[in-house]
């Protein structure tokens, strides 16, 4: 499998959030502002990268019977590392992400990638896959948080842009998160279905 295809499948074709619909908890909770979204995305990418590397290296030794708990422990350790690093170097991000950093452990994307990919492929490919998936996840977070911030609090990167028109506050609150994500996924499905038809038509 050539490296490039491995990398960009995570971003568009098999985007973990918008296509595979994994890890919706942090996606909904954290994307009130773009900075939070990007912070969470990068943290998850770091954990994904680390766990993919370790698991692809140690893939052979772990008995298949108990591989899920082992993966969880490895991922948990990476998550704690990230948690401590964020607390140390950017307390503001830590306050806003709050409980969702420890919850990266149970984020289905990481466990999914580890289970489906990392344990079976070579180191180089699983690194690429981790990066692809991580960037896809961050992209999805960025998209959702941009929409929610612009509509919800009339600002981008905390700088007010909509002037005197009062922003639609519901997008900053939970109901807005659900609805916004619902619409984005619907649009993604709409386009993937349309392009699929075009390809079928073309073939």
């Amino acid at each position: 499998m050539n490296a490039w295809k491995e990398f960009n499948k995570g971003i568009i074709k098999e985007n973990p959030v918008l296509v595979a619909l994994l890890g919706l908890c942090p996606v909904l909770a954290v994307t009130t502002t773009v900075i939070n979204g990007l912070g969470m995305g990068l943290a998850t990418t770091f954990v994904l990268l680390g766990s993919n590397i370790v698991i692809s290296v140690m893939g052979k030794f772990i008995p298949s019977k108990v591989r899920i708990p082992c993966y969880i422990v490895i991922i948990a350790s990476f998550v704690t590392i990230v948690d401590l690093l964020i607390q140390a170097f950017s307390p503001a991000l830590n306050k806003s992400l709050g409980i969702f950093i420890p919850l990266i452990v149970v984020n289905c994307i990481i466990l999914g990638r580890a289970e489906a990919f990392a344990s079976r492929n070579k180191l180089w490919h699983s690194i690429l896959d981790a990066l692809g998936m991580g960037i896809g996840f961050t992209l999805a977070l960025f998209l959702l948080s941009a929409i929610r911030e612009i509509l919800g609090s009339g600002a981008i990167f905390n700088i007010a842009i909509t002037g005197n028109i009062s922003p639609i506050l519901i997008f900053v609150l939970p109901p807005g998160a659900f609805a916004a994500l619902g619409f984005i996924i619907a649009i993604v499905i709409y386009f993937t279905k349309k392009s699929a038809e075009k390809n079928k038509g073309a073939k």
């Binding site: 772990i62 008995p63 019977k65 108990v66 708990p69 082992c70 422990v73 490895i74 948990a76 350790s77 704690t80 590392i81 401590l84 690093l85 607390q87 140390a88 170097f89 307390p91 609090s153 009062s166 639609i168 506050l169 519901i170 997008f171 900053v172 609150l173 109901p175 609805a179």
Partner: protein
Amino acid sequence: MENTKLIVSYPPYTKSKDSIEKVMYTVVFALLPAVVAAVYFFGLRALALIFVCSISAIGFEYLINVFRKQEIACFDGSALVTGILLALNLPSNLPYWMAVLGSFVAIVVVKQLFGGLGFNVFNPALAARVFLLISFPVAMTIWPIPFSVDMQTAASPLGILKTEGLKAANSITLWQAFIGNVGGSLGETSALALLLGSVILFWKKYITWIIPVSFVGATLAFTGIFHYMEPLKYASPAFHFTCGGLLLGALFMATDMVTTPVSKRGQLIFGLGCGLLTGIIRLFGGYPEGVSFAILIMNAFVPLLDKWDNYSNGKKWRLTKMRSVIVLTCIGFFSAFLLYMTDNITKEPIKKAIERVKVEALRQIFPFEFSDKDINIAFDKNGKEFFEIKNKDNSLRGIAVETSSDKGYGGEITILVAVSPDGKVFNYNVLSHKETPGLGNKIENEAFKKQFNGKTLDGFNWKVKKDDGFVDELTAATISSRAATDAVKKGLEVISNKYFVENKK
């Protein structure tokens, strides 16, 4: 006889004259008294709003029909009913673009996305009203007073009850509220018009009598019990009957056929549930008007009410062996060691980071510059932390303390208040609060904070203007402003007890 083509179709061949159009246009007819009352009390702006809502509702449904290549069904009256009902739920001075946004949510999101007429689970007009209430809290909670020419605004009776308590609310005579001469949304105010309109619906049997009766009954019973127990604290059931959206909700919103249970039993439970929830939200909840939330929540229960299915059992599941537990523990130890290493590296940075946050907050609230070294932390008898800022010659330049008040709208508000050595407030900084965004969180703005600058504990009446104090509260956020004032006052008291009492002694 030979050339007549016969059509074979299903019995029965004669059908009642009833049709969706007839049902919907009768509901529109039943809403006319309320529309006339609204225009009478709130002027032509109300008529314009109703017009805008209805046209945009029908327009959106037309677009959806065209977009999804369905045959055009937007004139069957259901879109018109949704438009008028939505308009009756809005204040008459609502900007038009918000009304159109409401129609968009009602028709496109809540109704068509769920499959169009007959399949939507939530009442479109109601969901749109709640959407607008949450999205634009300021615009949706200011109600123009009837007959007012230049749109003076005041809180609705329920709003007054919620913020000012019963004493103020009783100033509104029940008769005025009944005929509608009181602040509120277009349709809510005039209970008389609503009852008049609903007579035709009951007579033609287009709505069941079970839901309105059980709904209003449960609300009055609930509020009645609490009124009986504490007449001074809780308003009388008659007040709850005439004010707020109870009648509009019970007669027109909760009886929408599509989003309510089909069976009689289900309708009874639905009505009682709505009544109970309205009572709870009105007496204890944050929002003054509970009807729309109550109906939306009960709409969610409708599928369950209709479906008492027996519980189907699950399938078998496998067991895992002992060996795996051993491997699991050794992996655990390996990662424990890894974490011990990282914790050592990051222990100091974390302590420093917390420290920096505190200093950062202090720097914001003191008008003068100071370096980290000048800060010294003192404790009073019960362990309360004080930040003292020292001058070069070790004399006191300012004191800061962290205090909180739990009377905030959404719960606890903690602030860091800075005071000068002679007891004058410099400034304060809100550390954490759960006030509603857009309303309560304005206590963080400079405009509100400036009022406390230079004030002392006894030289300033620490109350909001409404409670005849000096602080002018934020519009539509009285509770939050009162809580913020209370927190600052507490800070001053704690500092004065520690420093000034000791100096005086």
